[in-house]
Amino acid sequence: MDGLMLLMQSFWLVPLGVMVGLVVGAIPGLSPPNALAAMIPVLVMLPPEAGMIFCVSLYVGAEMGNSFPAVMINIPGTAAAAVTALEGYQLMKRGEAARALGVCIMASFIGAAIGGIASISSAPLLAKLALKFSAVEICIIIVFGIAVIAQVSVGGLAKGLLAGFFGLLLATTGTDPLWGQLRGTFDIPYLFDGFSKVAILVGLLGFSELLMIIERSNLPAGAEVQQSRGTGFSEIAIGLKQVLIRPVQCLVASVIGVAVGLIPGAGGSAASLVAYQQSHAMAPPEVKKKYGKGAYEGLLAADAANNAMVGGALVPLLTLGLPGSATMAVVLVMMQYHGLEVGPRLFDLHGDMAYAVLWSQFLAAPFILVFGLALSSVAHKVAYVPNNLLVPVVGAFCIIGALARDQYLFDVWVMLIFGLLGYLMKRNGYPVIALLLGVLLGSYFEGNLFRGLRMGHGSAMIFFERPIALVLELLLLAVIVAPLVSGWKRRRRKRAGGHPNGDAV
């Protein structure tokens, strides 16, 4: 109840966040973490629960907004809408754009609602379980989180782990928490308190993405924008109905979205892909043929999953202090900025705040329906904001974001350097989020590591004596070893002359 009361004080931020999120999601090149990183200077000025509620609402709105350009002009607003583009654009070419938008809107609403219910009901249970986690388990969880991100990264496990461990090392910059020695500061006073996490966040997620946009914008001549079609409400209503007559598919996709969101680092694109594949696998043969040519089942699965994922991503953040996605990493930065207890004790010490954030996702769902329907007729136009105006504006916001905390120009240098680093990483297949997680959680990791060693009276055997720690270590080993084993099997099959992937997907 306290959480709901707290939410009501900042309730105006929910529709505002959803609205901004719809616009952000609809503009290809802008993604929720990029936009939130640019808005950090404003968000950190708000009370902590208000900033977090806005972030979650924006995230929910963006996971709906990314469908508009995906359907209308075959450009996903974010990577999470890639599957939406696959099916939705085919529907648009058949003259069923309005129906496709109706499917996206209703599926997103249901996914967000189910994600909200799942996170509200499971977070307190997980929080109680998380209280059994001591410093030892927390250390392993952090490494586990980085390893999972590394495992799902396109560049491969080694690159992911390298980025993660490098992030943990960068977090040691500044004053040693135990002995007060200055580490890695180059005798620069601005670094005595460590790198500005906000500047790193803005650089890695925001500025680097601008450089990628500039690089990608040199399109070949002849690429054409497809004609958009009109969108009448009666057609949209048919799309809404297409979701309502498929409740089981919607529910399954939403559950998959929540489950994938629970995995640190997975994100909306993984959720929508897995849900899409599952809906294809479960579909009867006559429906399977429609996949890739405009199948309502595939479209609703993708959209329900990527919205439900938001609820899943909230749970590890609020219970364990592990962000479930890049957007949640921004929320984590805000929590740290305000000095909130990050980890299992959040529900004990700031339970009303945690519940306010959980409820906000559930309450944002109806606004997706309302604003989505209102915007559907003009949705495609936002995709035409030209890059040559978008990039400078977002760049200016990145600079202001770096300046927001202490107004040191040094932090802008940090933002720029990490922006360049992030750009290099993205070009070469390194997961930026792994580095970011390492930086954000590094001091937490170091503190818990030494606390764990003190629990074991200086002996590292404590890490192998506690049952929960052992289970986590086995999972960690599985995460690291599994891709190596499957890679070895693939190479062996290839050498034997078979299909390298075995069963095709």
């Binding site: 890639a82 980025a163 090392l169 450089l211 694109s269 400078p392 600079i399 300046l403 070009r427 070469n428």
Partner: protein
């Protein structure tokens, strides 16, 4: 796809920075626990960087431009056109100039002041990236400067240098 020399940069940065931190801890005689923690992190970094450098040297598979490897990337993201950026044919040159403008911003903010610095950064970036309409460029640049002035400096109270316009704003 042709291999790119920049694929070695990140692991070399990781190795170099790690070596610096570990060396510093020995030279400055840090406490044993601090040195040990540094080594605990350095060991996997050196091993992983070595492995990555070796695999990149043997058979590089550079990521396609724009392939963000983690969580927000998918395979075939087809982009229909935005307006072509016409000034510079080379994306790298545009990136270098854009970063250069950001550097100029940092170097000149103290003298010019935040209003002029943001105005010039936004306007020149838009021109660099191919915006042709003077009204669009001016409007965006002025709009950005006004947002910074009223929202961040005025409403949120950020203390930024006024520079040449001190006394006026």
């Amino acid at each position: 796809m042709a291999s790119r020399p920049d694929r070695f940069i990140f692991p070399l940065i990781a190795v170099g920075y790690t070596a610096y931190l570990v060396g510093e801890s020995f030279v400055k005689h840090f406490h044993a626990s601090t040195i040990t923690y540094g080594l605990v992190l350095a060991a996997p970094i050196f091993l992983l960087a070595g492995w990555v450098l070796w695999t990149e040297y043997r058979g590089p598979k550079p990521a396609a431009p724009g392939a963000e490897p983690t969580l927000e990337a998918s395979g075939d993201v087809v982009r229909a056109s935005r307006r072509r950026l016409e000034i510079w044919p080379s994306p790298m040159a545009r990136n270098v100039m854009f970063v250069g403008l950001a550097v100029c911003f940092i170097m000149t903010t103290g003298v010019l002041g935040y209003f002029l610095a943001f105005f010039l950064f936004t306007g020149l970036s838009a021109l660099l990236l191919g915006a042709r309409s003077p009204w669009a460029v001016l409007g965006t640049a002025l709009g950005m400067a006004l947002v910074v002035h009223f929202v961040f400096v005025g409403f949120l109270g950020l203390k930024l240098p006024a520079g040449l316009l001190a006394g006026l704003i």
